[in-house]
């Protein structure tokens, strides 16, 4: 035991001495987004400006195994179908897109090693991923190496900052934007003000929704009477029912929306207005299983979808259905649509880069991705993906409210497009 004691003490002293030689040289990046997006800060500056001529490799880190694999697999099907369509249309200025996927099992550690493999081994020109934890694990290395991580399917507030993370973008609307639109919707319905109860997931996404909603209603007649975490949905529902609020705003992710709708149904609580966030959009997994409890529940959407009756014969929708069906995917799945949308915005950035001064290089692609005003064929009229790389990095900022009809099992529009601006 003596040996071990002395050994432990020796190691501790050695580490302490070694530590004294190290310094924490970290600091926060400052300056403009344009300065931040510079090849000078990159590990290999020459690689950043080099033109991509042979093929453009899109590297994806995603859960190909584990519990999340089924849903994420559908997202990837949609994305790959869109990239394939781009290739069929001649590629990006003649450059074909190839997709390399690496399994992260939805764990950040594996996403961390994946980003290194995608960049160093697979020579990815562009990256993407799904989930805030994944972006957290990948962002530092890809920003250091200056490889664009485009339109990650996440909505982590810090990655909307092009100064701190100049090589990272996300395609989901920020919680602050979506909750601002929800606040607008409530104001329209209740011009004299109303009491709102909120049920939010205790995770990062849920807290972001809650904080964003509180910020959005400042200076309005809307009053948040209680924000209750969704730990036990039944308890949450009964606690919020006791407030007597007329409006329930659910800040959760897919399964939270389903469990909360079921819980308020069982409690017999019938708020005048129930709103769920856009990530709860899947009809088959969220709304249909909730049955009558989901009737009239509202959600903000920005896509024309095959499941929306008014767009069933829309050209863009038909093109989407044909492409994803050919790829063996389910066109009615919101996950497939989500992947398609991510790839669609990426393809637009690549095409804009190809005709820009920077060309189809990493820095050219990043500049194009940070400065888009894209009215995608699949967007509802009045919605666009607009970013300027400086003051506006939020992409989607307009939505149209839809309500679920439990009898017809369809979403029906219940208002015009609302802008969060």
């Amino acid at each position: 035991m003596k040996t071990s004691k002395y050994g432990v003490i020796g190691v501790a002293i050695t580490l302490a001495l070694a530590s004294a030689c190290g310094t924490n040289t970290g600091g926060t990046t400052s300056g403009s987004a344009e300065e931040a997006l510079s090849s000078e800060n990159c590990a290999d500056p020459a690689a950043v400006t080099g033109e991509i001529t042979d093929e453009l490799v899109v590297g994806i880190s995603a859960a190909l195994s584990g519990p999340a694999a089924q849903a994420i697999g559908q997202v990837l099907q949609g994305a790959e179908a869109r990239f394939e369509l781009a290739n069929q249309n001649g590629g990006i200025d003649g450059v074909e897109i190839s997709v390399v996927k690496r399994d992260d099992g939805f764990t950040p550690e594996r996403a961390k090693t994946n980003v290194q493999a995608l960049i160093d081994q697979d020579q990815a020109d562009v990256l993407t991923t799904l989930g805030g934890g994944q972006v957290d694990a990948m962002s530092d290395y890809q920003n250091e190496q200056c490889v664009p991580l485009l339109n990650a399917i996440s909505s982590v507030p810090k990655y909307y900052d092009p100064v701190q993370f100049p090589w990272t973008t996300q395609d989901l609307p920020a919680a602050s934007i979506e909750e601002a639109a929800i606040a607008r919707l409530i104001e329209e319905r209740y011009p004299d003000g109303v009491e709102v109860a909120m049920a939010s997931n205790p995770n990062e996404s849920g807290q972001a929704y809650a904080e964003a909603f509180e910020a959005a209603i400042e200076g309005t007649d809307i009053r948040l009477v209680k924000n209750e975490p969704i730990v036990d949905p039944a308890t949450t529902a009964s606690t919020l029912e006791a407030t007597g609020a007329k409006v329930l705003n659910i800040g959760g992710i897919g399964t939270d929306c389903l469990s909360m709708m079921n819980a308020i149904g069982r409690a017999g609580w019938e708020p005048e207005l129930v709103i769920v966030p856009s990530n709860c959009t899947d009809a088959k997994l969220v709304f249909e299983p909730a049955g009558e409890a989901a009737d009239g529940v509202e959600i903000l959407r920005w896509f024309k979808e095959p499941i929306l009756e008014e767009y069933e014969d829309d050209d863009a929708v038909l093109e989407f259905v044909e492409a994803v069906t050919a790829a063996g995917a389910d066109p009615s799945s919101s996950y497939v649509l989500s992947g398609w949308a991510m790839a669609d915005i990426t393809v637009n950035a690549l095409e804009e880069a190809a005709v820009s001064d920077g060309g189809l290089s990493r820095i050219g692609i990043m500049k194009a991705a940070q400065s888009q005003d894209y009215k995608a064929p699949l967007f509802i009229d009045g919605v666009s993906f607009t970013v300027d790389g400086e003051s506006d990095s939020f992409g989607i900022e307009s939505f149209r409210p839809y309500a679920w009809n439990a009898e017809t099992k369809k979403f029906e529009p219940v208002g015009d497009v609302i802008s969060a601006d």
Binding site: S19, G22, L64, D103
Partner: protein, 399 residues
């Protein structure tokens, strides 16, 4: 068709090859030790030539292995099954993250703090072991494992709450004396993890050969008997859990430096991590020195391998089936099985082993010629292993 001669041969008593005996301190023993040290050093140097991706994977293996060494101390050697080591791992990781981000510590300086905090939390968790045992104690550790992510969310001023902590690369620049730039951080972490793993394994090896180590095994194998021999069982359990927490906390600190992203939701500090550590320990071999390293290698690389066979949820099933097959054919773990196989050919005995003493006296009588080895009967029943032996039968008898 067997001949008469063949049948006669089969009826003869089976003579197995006797294992070679290596006496500790002998020249042969030192040569073997040198070869092993050389091989390890060589492997470590080869590792520096790997791609950034592979090097990062090996670093992840080594960090996981350190955490499993900590778990092995409590569970493998002492029999205290812990399902809450994810929390001890998280304590170390968050200590490093908070000290770097909020207090501008250099990353290395956070490691002793992460270790000390892991030790303190381990001691506290070990206290219930004074009164409860077996699965009931495991339930206490389970509660810790469940509570940890909630505690992280609750104290968001320190921990970043649900949003987590992101330690960016500029905070993790290698110390200037290494001569490495921040773009060579992977190499620095690889080296640091390698040295850490070797040091931790040596410390545990020495600990297990000490009186405390014997007491720990005694607690695992026969608590009543070891207590009747004057061992303070309560003290042994609490200190073991403290040391286990210290090692796992240290691994958590390294993890924070390596991954840089800490979140209560990511699976890094939830029960999923505990299960991963337990799996690695049992696959590698509980209560063995090399088991944690082998088990960690399997748990890091096997999912990647199975995902190349097929994609989607099926690859997860394949991973599970492969694990089941491994456990079925090697219930003592890979290292445990290797020990059994190796011991058929070579056995290490203490320098005061009777055969070693006989050899030494015969060497003196023959004018100083030292062979360093001498065959003995297989099984060695007539020469029971001493307390310092690496005998597999004494290391894994509780399983």
């Amino acid at each position: 068709m067997p001949t008469v001669t063949d049948r006669e041969r089969t009826t003869e008593p089976r003579t197995e090859r006797s294992p070679v005996l290596l006496a500790e301190g002998s020249r042969a023993y030192r040569i073997v030790a040198l070869v092993i040290v050389g091989a390890i050093t060589g492997l470590a140097l080869i590792g520096t030539t790997l791609s950034v991706y592979r090097m990062s994977q090996v670093t992840a293996v080594m960090i996981t292995a350190i955490a499993v060494v900590g778990l092995n101390l409590a569970t493998g050697y002492t029999g205290l099954l812990s399902i809450g080591h994810s929390a001890l791992f998280g304590v170390g990781a968050y200590a490093t993250g908070i000290l770097i981000l909020d207090y501008a510590y250099s990353p290395l300086l956070t490691l002793p703090v992460a270790t000390a905090l892991g030790f303190a939390v381990g001691l506290i968790v070990g206290v219930p072991a004074l009164r409860i045992r077996g699965l009931y104690f495991s339930l206490v550790t389970l509660a810790l494992g469940i509570a940890f992510p909630e505690i992280i969310r609750r104290f968001d001023d320190f921990t970043g709450g649900a949003a987590g902590l992101l330690i960016r690369s500029q905070f993790l620049t290698p110390p200037s004396w290494t001569g490495l730039t921040r773009f060579e951080r992977g190499l620095w972490l690889y080296g640091l993890s390698f040295v850490s793993l070797v040091v931790v394994m040596l410390l545990v090896r020495n600990l297990m050969r000490s009186r405390t180590g014997i007491a720990m095994r005694g607690v695992r194998d026969h608590e009543v008997a070891i207590r009747s021999n004057g061992v303070d069982v309560a003290r042994t359990k609490v200190i073991t859990f403290g040391l286990s927490g210290a090692i796992t906390g240290y691994a958590g600190g390294l993890f924070a430096m390596n991954v840089g992203a800490l979140s209560p939701d990511g699976g890094s500090f939830t029960l999923v991590k505990s299960i991963e550590l337990i799996t690695a320990m049992f696959i590698g071999g509980a209560g063995t020195l090399l088991g944690p390293l082998i088990g960690s290698t399997v748990t890091v690389f096997l999912p990647e391998l199975t995902s190349t066979w097929t994609t989607g949820p099926i690859s997860g099933v394949l991973f599970g089936v492969t694990l089941i097959v491994l456990v079925f054919f090697m219930p003592e773990g890979i290292a445990g099985r290797l020990q059994i196989v190796i011991r058929r050919f070579v056995r290490v005995v203490p320098s005061d082993h009777p055969v070693a003493r006989r050899r030494a006296s015969s060497t003196q009588n023959s004018g100083g010629k030292v062979t360093g080895e001498e065959p003995v009967a297989a099984g060695g029943a007539e020469h029971p292993p001493g307390p310092n032996s690496d005998d597999a039968s004494s290391e894994g008898s509780s399983r």
